[in-house]
Symmetry: C2
């Protein structure tokens, strides 16, 4: 319906995740009117990202070189690995400033419905990293949903008998939340995981 190249742009934008045809149209017209420099900045950074960003050969996080910023930082505790699904989860954990170890990014979670099995994730790479005895604690921080739980269970079973200290992030009530609005599964988990109060 639009002049050829405008429709092409709408089509390309519509392929991005979470962008429907209406949003694609809205963004396309925004870009049509936008400052040429704004569009140039976007195309430059897109090209640059594809040219320079790789995945860390050790942990699978995004990296600008061979290793990511965290793996190449000698101050990080090499005895602890926090296992997450995606690079964005690394950022989420980093924001807490609670963890000074390293990460392992699986690249997703086990989900038979979506055809994702353990062999599609970097679980083998994780087991290889654990082969020497440097690592003493594994903190599994996959998402608290069915896929994340399945992945956590799979990994912890694969490591049964290794004597490695394996933990899973606590489930429970979100801080600042309201008990009344908690779903029953979360509230159940909060009961299961209840902790003694230290006064």
């Amino acid at each position: 319906m639009y002049e050829g190249v405008v429709q092409d742009l709408i089509d390309e934008l519509g392929r991005l995740p979470g962008i429907g045809p209406k949003s694609a149209q809205r963004i396309a017209f925004h870009l049509l009117r936008a400052d040429p420099e704004e569009v140039a900045r976007l195309t430059t950074v897109l090209t640059e990202v594809k040219a320079t960003i790789r995945f860390c050969t050790r942990c699978g996080n995004v990296a600008q070189g061979e290793l990511c910023r965290i793996c190449s930082d000698p101050r990080r505790d090499q005895t602890k690995i926090c296992v997450v699904e995606e690079p964005k989860d690394v950022v989420a954990v980093e924001r807490t400033r609670e963890f000074r170890g390293t990460y392992h990014v699986l690249g997703g979670a086990i989900s038979p419905m979506d055809g994702v099995g353990p062999e599609d994730l970097s679980i083998r790479e994780l087991l290889l990293r654990l082969a020497d005895d440097t690592v003493t604690e594994l903190i599994i921080a996959t998402d608290p949903n069915i896929q994340g739980e399945a992945t956590a269970t799979y990994i912890s079973r694969s490591l049964r008998g290794t004597g490695l200290n394996i933990t899973r992030l606590a489930s429970g009530l979100p801080v600042g939340g309201d008990l009344e609005y908690a779903d029953e599964v979360t509230l159940g988990r909060a009961f299961e995981g209840r902790r003694p109060m230290h006064e």
Copy 2:
């Protein structure tokens, strides 16, 4: 928090309309993993759009040359102009196949709250197009909201006494809709605009 250029990409994406920080992050990681060709297609079409797309010097619609496809089509009826706010409204009207005249794209609607006055729209250009007596009918198809109504009123007042046939698109119940769910303003308009039934 991310490696420099990844954060730059997230920032640039976050500047697009309707894309919040979470969506920007999701799209950025999608692009990181995407086929280099997919990203290349997007950057190429972005560059092409900015290089080739202009706005029609006559009607303000998107155009790949001096005039848009509609203005340069000799089969279109030059005596009728349909006035719309945005190029996407041209596409919406074209889809109905009801109108074979030409368009005038205002580039928005009068909205004092957003600091948009009549002088920010191409109303002067519209009046100039009406200066010779080619055009006999003006169909005002601005949005049926406060800004669109204000714009329609402004234009029709500017043309008072010219003898031009000026109409406004009908407001009423959407076809396929349900009377019960119509808001009272729409239902009121539907009453006002009631038409005799031809049997």
